[in-house]
Structures are given as structure tokens and as C-alpha cells.
Amino acid sequence: MKRLPLRWGMVALLPPLLAAAPAFAADAAPPKIDTGDTAWMLTSTALVLMMTIPGLALFYAGMVRKKNILATLMQSFAITCIVTIVWAVAGYSLAFTAGNAYIGDLSRFMLNGIAAHIKDGADTGFLLGAGGAGALPQTIPETVFMMFQMTFAIITPALIAGAFADRMKFSALCIFMTLWSLLVYSPVAHWVWAPTGWIAGLGVLDFAGGTVVHINAGIAGLMCALVLGKRVGYGNDNMAPYNLAYSVIGASLLWVGWFGFNAGSAVGSNGRAGMAMAVTQIATAAAALAWMFAEWVAKGKPSVLGAASGAVAGLVAITPASGFVLPGASIIIGVAAGVICFWSATSLKHMMGYDDSLDAFGVHCVGGIVGALLTGVFAFAPLGGTAGSLHQLAIQAIGVISTLGWSGVMTLVILMITKALVGLRVNEDEEREGLDLVLHGEQVF
């Protein structure tokens, strides 16, 4: 979503929340469609949806025990459906309309007005953040932009589910994810990606969602793991993954889909998308190798799950940086992410004693922080308009800390609300029996 330099200030702090849909005619004629841009963004949208279903669904399902495989697949699948509706009703409006620096308005409530400027077959672009400061002309239809962003809104809460795998009630998941999407995802996306957003105004660089998606979901996952507590039998029972082949297939689908995620975030079919794709591939390979070798040295064997996890860590870390950095830097970012996430998922977690079951925090939050900070170091000005510097590193840190703070606190609040409404965990007997049978009345294999 990052276009060129982000120099709009914090303007229009508190316009009425229900501002009328801005009339295009008053501003200017809508920008023209670029068919190449539109074609790539349609493709990217499909690729990013594939990351969640079936990519993430399989990645996670392969790591749980046999009795929880269907329930884990269902989490990603249900979140896809829930967030689609939430996004269409209010999420998109709150994230991407002008509003103020902290939240959008409701001018796109129920996607109202998304067709306002359409005539003669709808081949017009739109102004992102129309009516606010720094509105950005887009060369794709707003429907495509809304759909592309929807797929990001879907995968972010789905990532959280890795932290509370094997023990959350399905009813609790439905309520938690609805509230989280509206109260955490939409505001943070607005801060970082809407032209009026306050973090964007500071000049924080986040090309494809290091803060908005990965740090955001990762810290929420840690809060879930802490509040829900460990799985029954954690540390004693055998919780070995039932079918890691699923996880490898899932990680591979994530990898391929991530080209839509990162190169798609150029919102255009152009050189910046090409560079984003190149660094995504290179950083991912570097991170997979780094995790693999680190594990080989530390534990004696290069595990398949380790290589797949390393690839995901690299994808996460290059996410904010893609579109800002060059291939050389992407190798450094990948190696750093591979080694650091290996440590956080295999050592830090056991040292601290929380049960982040599938390492939503250890891979996504930690990898996201590595990537967000290193973006500030390695940004290449001719590509993204901002050069890496100590100053930029400090700005990146503000983005990281703000996201950690808001997401961490709001996740706790939402967990408390959900707990009061339906409770969070299945009981101990149900957990031992397995979520597939208890929650869904079905079994796999």
C-alpha cells in the first residue's frame, strides 16, 4: 500500500464520523484505470486469499494433533467468512476512508458509495482517502482495492489462531474475531495505510503489513496464549504434529501467495512490484536456510518443519521491507529473521513458559519486528523515496511500539468481553477428547 514518500501531515483530526460520501465531481474527475495494474491486483487478491485458505489452514492443521485437525482447518475457513462480512459492513470503511488520524469514518458503511462514480461500465479509478488530506489517486477500481485489502483483513486474525490452537471454543472464536477485526485491525490499518493515518504521517515504512498484519496478529496471539493458558498436558503429553506434510504444503502455498501480498502491495503492475517480488523470494530462501542450519547446529538435525517455519519467518520479515529494500539487504533480513525466529520459537517460548502452540508470536510478531526495524536500516531512497538511517530506524520503532501497545491492550479487553459472553476455553474433558468431535461433531481419517 505504500506509494511514494509519505509526507502528508496529521490533518483533519476529527471530522464528523458519518461524513457524507465525498462527491467526486467536486474534487476532480476520477483517475483513469490502468488495465495492467488492475489485472495484477485482481490476481494478487486471489493469491492472498489462497494464503489463508488453504495455505495457512493447512500450515496450522499439520502441526496439531489428529483430534484437532478439522477444528484447526475450520478456524481459518470460518475467519475467512466472518471477516469478509465484517469488512464489507464496516471494516473497510473504518480502515480506508479519510476520517481522522486514528480511524476512518462510516462513509463506506455497507460499502455504500463504492459505486457512486461508476458510469458506462465502471472503468474508473478512485481517490484513496477522498475528502481527506493527501488523498491518493489509484489506477484500479475501488472494488479491487477493497477486495485486495479484504484478503489482508482475513489473514491477520487467522494468524492469531495459531496461538490458542487446540483449546478455544468455536463460539468464542467467532465473537473474538469479529470484535478484533473491527477494534484492532481496522484502526491499525488506518493508522499505517490510510493517507490520513497518524503512523503514515510520521513516515513509518510498512510496505505490505509488517506492523499491520504480523506484529499486530503476533502480539494478539501472545495475549491469547497468556489469557487462555497452556493446553492440558503441555510439557507432559506427546503433542507431536500429526501430519507435517500438510504443514509443508501450507507453507509452500503461503510462499507462493505471498507474491500477491508483497508485490501486490505496490498497487500496480510496475518495477516496484517486481523488486518486491524479487526480495520476497530471496529473503524467504535465506531465512529457510538460516533456520535450517541453526537447527542443524543446535539440535543435530535439519528438520522439515524447521525449514518450512524459517521460510514463513522470512516471508514475514520481508513484508514491511519489500518495495523499500534491494536484494542484498533482503538476504540480511532473511538470515536475521531465520535465526532470531528459530530462537524465539524454540528457546524463548520454553524459557518463558507460555504455550503459543503454533508460534503465532514467535514467528509473526518477532519476525515482523525484525523486518520493520531493518526496513528503517536498509531502505533504498530511489525505490521507495526514503533512505535507511538511524532516524528512520527510530521512526520504525514508533510504529512497532504503537502497534504492540494498541493490539496488546485491545486484545486483552476483547478476550475479557468474550469470556464474559461465552467463555474462552473448552473444558478439560472436551480438550482431551479433541475439538473435532466436541465442537464440530466430525472426525478426520
Binding site: N238, M239, A240, K299, S303, L305, T346, K349, H350
Partner: protein, 112 residues
């Protein structure tokens, strides 16, 4: 008649089958099983979490033969399944009272 039940390493199954055919063994039953003996189990590590798996995958062969053939079958299995390393498995021999081929109704030795 004797039932010869052998627990062997999975990758030795083909060797055993090839060793038995020349002896005139007409059929046998194979199952994938898990268990432990002196080999105990193995340790698996997933993202730093270590699990000791006490049951290892093995193959169980069941073959019923005329009593006079039993010794040579036992010897053939023990030779074919042998690696000399721990975990090679075991052979058990049981008496069989009766046998019948369902298709024809043939009994005992004729049914084997």
C-alpha cells in the same frame, strides 16, 4: 500345523517374502503394527519441543504352515530379517487346531 508370527523391521518385508516363496509358502498376512522391545523408542523434536516416542512402527507377518515346514520357515525368516542391530524383532510359534479354505471347504493341510 503351526502359526508363525514374526515381528520384523518394516524395510525387511520384501526380503522375508522372497525367502519364503521358494519354501512353498502359499500365502501370508501382513499388518502394520507399533510396539517396543529392547530398542525402546526414539526422540522427536518439533520446534524445540522434545517428545519420546515409545512405540516404533514394525511389520507383523502371520503365516500358517504344515508342521514339518515350520523349522525351515523360521530359519528363513530369521535369516532374511536379520541386521544384527537392536530392533530386528521376534518370532513366535503357535499350534493351530484347524484350518478351512472358505471358497472350497477344504480342510487343514489342504487349506493352506
Amino acid at each position: 500345523m503351526k502359526l508363525i508370527m514374526a515381528i520384523i523391521k518394516p524395510f525387511k518385508l520384501d526380503d522375508v517374502r522372497e525367502a519364503l516363496t521358494p519354501l512353498g509358502v502359499q500365502g501370508l498376512t501382513v499388518s502394520e503394527v507399533k510396539g517396543f522391545g529392547r530398542q525402546k523408542g526414539q526422540t522427536e523434536i518439533y520446534r524445540g519441543a522434545e517428545y519420546h516416542v515409545s512405540f516404533l512402527p514394525k511389520i507383523k507377518i502371520e503365516v500358517v504352515v504344515p508342521t514339518d515346514l515350520a523349522d525351515s520357515v523360521i530359519e528363513a525368516i530369521s535369516k532374511a530379517a536379520h541386521t544384527g542391530k537392536i530392533g530386528d524383532g521376534k518370532i513366535f510359534v503357535l499350534d493351530i487346531e484347524r484350518a478351512m479354505r472358505i471358497r472350497t471347504g477344504e480342510l487343514d493341510a489342504a487349506a493352506l
